[in-house]
């Protein structure tokens, strides 16, 4: 039962991503071609509210529902891994029109081809695990 809240949040996520059309390859192409505000509006709104909310959580030391402090751990300092990894991610994002979340939402919507994309995303993740020690971080 403790997982039901995550199931509900996932359902809301799937509905929002579909109804906002953020799961559409067309919308991603439109974004990378800078031809509409739509995707920037979605991400911009989320980040603006996110920055405000996170600042409030820190300022008022808001706790989670277990009573534990909500902590934000700083990510490791590096440039190469974020720039290189991010660029490889971006190549795939523009080509398939989906990041990992939207992939599975698309499968639920009935686009079975996205299951292939998701499977190979798993393969790509495994490949990273194999090559990790040889890559600049």
């Amino acid at each position: 039962m403790k997982f039901i809240k995550f199931l509900l949040l996932g359902i809301v996520f799937g509905i929002v991503m579909t109804k906002s059309e953020a799961v559409s390859w067309f919308r991603i192409q439109e974004m990378f071609r800078f031809q509409a505000f739509h995707m920037y509006g979605i991400i911009g709104t989320a980040v603006t509210l996110g920055v405000t909310g996170v600042a409030l959580i820190k300022k008022f030391k808001i706790r989670d529902y277990h009573g534990n402090p909500i902590v934000f751990s700083p990510k490791d300092r590096s440039v190469s891994r974020y720039l290189l990894g991010g660029s490889i991610f971006g190549l795939g994002w523009a080509l398939s029109g989906a990041c990992p979340g939207p992939m599975v939402v698309n499968v639920g919507y009935g686009y079975w081809a996205m299951a292939i994309v998701f499977f190979f995303a798993l393969v790509g993740t495994y490949l990273y695990g194999v090559l990790k020690s040889k890559l600049p971080h």
Partner: protein, 185 residues
């Protein structure tokens, strides 16, 4: 009311909902980052036996797998009950650019040229889907996160690494869109 739900949702409402999902996850003691699931699934599949990157207590991440299952259900429920499956209303300029690459104007959510059954079972179509997925999976783990982990969660926390990652997302996306896609399609 029903009409308000079945038509596409506005960017500001959708963005606010995504922020709300992030805050609910924080309130429930977790954080918003979808691509971690890829690593978790590899670990759950037993790949930790051959590679230590996948040798961790993946059971602590079950909540995120449940979130993933919810996301699939959300897509399904939208298709069944909340959608008219109307063509995505993208900009005319995008339609024109894409037609030069051989894509018809939108007829539903996704282009049949990439995600239709015919494309899926053609060699070229399959390769495109496979390479796209491969790069997303490899890149997100290399960068330590995807759109949710970096662009939403990381930027909300004003993390410089996330800003660099998002710049990378766009560098790769622009290279694919303007340099590579004209060669593929």
């Amino acid at each position: 009311m029903i009409e308000l739900i079945t038509q596409p949702w506005s960017w500001w409402f959708s963005g606010a909902m995504i922020a709300a999902i992030m805050f609910f996850l924080l309130f429930f003691g977790q954080s918003f980052g979808f691509s971690s699931n890829l690593r978790t699934i590899c670990a759950a599949a037993g790949l930790g036996k051959t590679n230590k990157f996948f040798d961790f207590n993946w059971k602590s991440q079950i909540w995120n797998l449940v979130f993933l299952v919810g996301a699939i259900l959300g897509g399904f429920l939208t298709k069944q009950f909340l959608s008219t499956d109307a063509p995505v209303q993208i900009a005319q300029s995008t339609i024109e650019d894409l037609s030069k690459l051989g894509f018809a104007a939108p007829e539903s959510l996704q282009p049949a040229e990439l995600f239709g059954l015919e494309a899926m079972f053609s060699l070229k179509g399959f390769m495109i889907l496979a390479f796209g997925g491969l790069m997303v999976g490899f890149g997100s783990r290399y960068a330590g996160g995807c759109t949710s982990g970096h662009a939403i969660s990381g930027l909300s926390d004003l993390q410089i690494p996330s800003l660099i990652a998002v710049m990378g997302f766009f560098a790769g996306g622009l290279i694919m869109t303007f340099l590579i896609m004209p060669l593929i399609f």
